[in-house]
């Protein structure tokens, strides 16, 4: 099959850029630890409030200025309703849902994960700036979806 010379050049440049780009993403994800949220950690959605650690949602210190944050996204709110995080803290979020699918997004940060019933999602974020961060549900979950929000205070 004949391919025009200019088309060969065009495709070669395009494909080269593509692989550079994929390489950058891959190095970022696997060598520098910038993975999307993940975790294969199952939980019975009907027993979330009885299952450790979600029987006691909130912050748990695990190191020097390092915390686990166990959060429940439910229709239509978050537990704990208010949370305070020390400035500069590295927070390992663990999020699940006892009912339908929700989103867990902290605006102005890279924290954006799906709370799927039956699974616990994991993501780590370091809060370097003080402020009152807005946490909202970004997946449609029912009639009160737009009211599903809370804040995290970093100071």
């Amino acid at each position: 099959m004949h391919i025009h010379r200019l088309e060969k050049i065009w495709l070669a440049i395009g494909v080269a850029m593509l692989f550079v780009f994929l390489g950058v993403i891959g190095v970022g994800a696997f060598a520098m630890g910038m993975q999307p949220p993940t975790g294969h950690h199952t939980i019975d959605p009907e027993k979330v409030s009885e299952t450790y650690p979600f029987n006691n949602p909130g912050l748990e210190q695990v190191g020097e200025n390092e915390y686990n944050a166990y959060m429940i996204a439910y229709a239509f709110g978050f537990k704990p309703a208010k949370m305070e995080v020390p400035l500069g803290a590295k927070v390992h979020f663990q999020v699940t849902s006892p009912d339908v699918v929700h989103g867990f997004q902290i605006t102005g940060t890279t924290v954006n994960l799906m709370a799927v019933p039956g699974e616990v999602n994991h993501y780590t974020y370091t809060f370097d700036k003080p402020g009152e961060y807005l946490v909202l549900c970004n997946e449609y979950c029912g009639a009160g979806h737009e009211f599903m929000a809370t804040t995290i205070i970093v100071k």
Binding site: L18, F21, L22, I25, P36, Q105, E139, Y140, E146, A149
Partner: protein, 562 residues
């Protein structure tokens, strides 16, 4: 191993369209544009609510009309238009009329899809299915909403078999010839559709329907989401491929040029078949239950569609330049001036092409693994697909309608209609500039998609988003004017004056450039392409999906939260 392509001649393009087939085509377009009108009403209401400009009466929910908008626009308008367009081209280029059995399959598919559309719309209007068009479990709609979806999908399958049947008949009766490009591409499009819908069929038939009737107690969420997105991404290629058919086959003829390369056009469609399906995880990057390495592998596979996209872009602009130079254009960009800017059959699809450049770039950002966290479920994504499907695909389909409707009826595309078409296109572009532009921007600031009016207790971040939401509502209102004008144009096209051999609208089927080499026959070895596709799907899904099956997360009971 080469053979001559059956060339469409100018006389073929002008030849009157078969009267019986015309009814089938028009029936599809009527449902498509009715869905566009109703979906447009839902869309403008949403925009105004989100912008804080109106409040809906208490009997209608925001999420209810959001469901109606998504289902009617993304599923019904597109599918009906596509099947109508493909049947028209298949009839035109593969025998001049549909075989009796193919016509019957087309009607059977049409009736099933229409019944499904009506049933689904009733369920949405009754507030029995406020689950949005993605119907994520464990939100539970009325079981008849899922049954309505089955009707639509099964109907589209039967219509697809009709296209395969006509194609097989043509091949059998034209041994040694390469099939017409339209027929080849129609088969490729329907093949993607058949293989993609297997995923949604499995989840609806084996998970949603038994669970929503209460025959089984629980549903596995990750399995249902994975099956949905196995279907959900190739769905967008099912919208895009018919638009590419207009670009590859019809546009060269409309601008008075030739198809740049028949074989490269076919090869790009083969690549679309291979790389449109094993990629669904890029919609699930922010989810648990899928190992990072499998997310990344599907990201890499997703990006392979860059190759046929670049091929298409090259072919388009090569055609434009060759045509311009053949008409005597000089200088590096002189050929731009020779393009028929005043012809809506060119102008609308061309604007669609142009918009696809930023739209495609946005898509690359969305699929970029960890970078998706910046935009996932924000209005950026809504802005993205309002460029891809609601501008690139929609404007191309509108551009097709301006000749397809008069052609099948033996009528004229009058200069007045043409002018209205140009105006409609410009209205669409202006409306979309405001709406999609604001969506992209405010999405980057974090404003979530699929959310009714709220200021989140006057949080400063959310208050800052408000002016963008107002701009979205203004853009949406302009687009609604565009929808109304398009619907009126469609009615006017049906009532256009009759044409004779000279004045009737033609079905523009391009010829291949003389310099292009004959098309190799291996390109039509469908068994090979499907085989490679199956291998790719098994590679991309076996381990992660097997893990969901072998170590399933506890299931969920049904929830009705609206």
């Amino acid at each position: 191993m080469t053979a001559t392509v059956m060339q469409a001649s100018a006389a073929d393009n002008k030849r009157p369209f078969d009267g019986k087939d015309a009814k089938l085509v028009l029936a599809h377009l009527l449902v498509a544009f009715t869905a566009l009108l109703l979906g447009g009403v839902a869309g403008v209401l949403q925009g105004l609510v989100r912008g804080g400009m109106i409040e809906l009466p208490s009997e209608i929910g925001y999420y209810q009309i959001l469901t109606a908008h998504g289902v009617l626009m993304a599923l019904i308008f597109t599918t009906f238009f596509i099947i109508g367009f493909l049947y028209a081209g298949v009839s035109k280029t593969m025998g001049g009329k549909l075989l009796g059995v193919v016509s019957r399959m087309g009607w059977a598919g049409y009736v099933l899809m229409t019944v499904g559309t009506i049933l689904g719309t009733i369920m949405i209007l009754a507030n029995e299915a406020t689950v949005l068009y993605t119907f994520y479990a464990p939100l539970k709609a009325n079981p008849f909403f899922y049954i309505a979806l089955v009707f639509v999908v099964v109907g589209s399958w039967i219509s697809g078999y009709g296209i395969f049947t006509q194609y097989r008949y043509w091949r059998r009766t034209h041994k040694g010839s390469v099939s017409p490009l339209f027929g080849f591409m129609a088969v490729a499009t329907m093949l993607v559709w058949q293989i993609a819908t297997i995923g949604v069929a499995i989840t609806v038939l084996f998970q949603f329907i038994p669970w929503s009737f209460g025959w089984v107690e629980k549903i596995n969420i990750m399995i249902s989401r994975t099956l949905f997105w196995y279907f959900g991404h190739p769905l967008v290629y099912f919208w895009l491929m018919p638009a590419y058919m207009c670009w590859y086959i019809c546009i060269p003829k409309i601008i008075g040029g030739k198809i740049f390369s028949d074989s490269m056009a076919r090869l790009s469609f083969v690549l679309f078949i291979l790389f449109s399906i094993p990629v669904g995880f890029h919609h699930q990057l922010m989810e648990p239950g899928i190992a990072p390495v499998w997310k990344y592998i599907q990201v890499v596979l997703t990006f392979m569609v860059v190759i046929p996209s670049l091929m298409t872009a090259f072919a388009m602009f090569a055609t434009f330049e060759q045509t311009g130079r053949a008409k005597g254009a000089r200088g590096l960009f002189g050929w731009l001036k020779t393009l028929p800017w005043g012809d809506v059959r060119f102008f609308a699809p061309f604007m669609g092409m142009l918009v696809f450049i930023p739209a495609g770039a946005g898509g690359i950002i969305n699929a970029s693994n960890q970078m998706n966290a910046m935009v996932h479920n924000t209005l950026w994504v809504t802005g993205h697909f309002h460029l891809t499907v609601a501008t690139t695909v929609a404007l191309t389909f509108f551009g097709v309608a301006y000749w397809l409707i008069p052609h099948v009826l033996g009528k004229q595309l009058t200069p007045r209609m043409n002018r209205l078409g140009i105006i409609q296109t410009i209205i669409w572009l202006i409306g979309m500039f405001f709406m999609s532009g604001s969506m992209h921007t405010v999405g980057l600031f974090g404003s979530p998609r699929r959310t009714a009016y709220t200021t989140y207790g006057d949080h400063p971040d959310a208050v800052f988003w408000m002016p963008y939401h107002v701009a979205m509502a203004i853009g949406g209102t302009i687009l609604f004017i565009g929808v109304i004008l398009m619907f009126c144009n469609m009615i006017a096209l049906m009532r256009a004056p009759k044409g004779d051999e000279k004045t009737a609208a033609e079905f523009p089927i391009g010829e291949t450039a003389d310099a292009a080499e004959p098309t190799p026959k291996w390109i039509e070895r469908w068994g090979v392409w499907v085989g490679v596709l199956v291998v790719l799907i098994l590679f991309a899904y076996t381990v992660p999906f097997g893990d969901m099956l072998v170590n399933p997360a506890p299931g969920s009971k049904p929830w009705v939260t609206w």
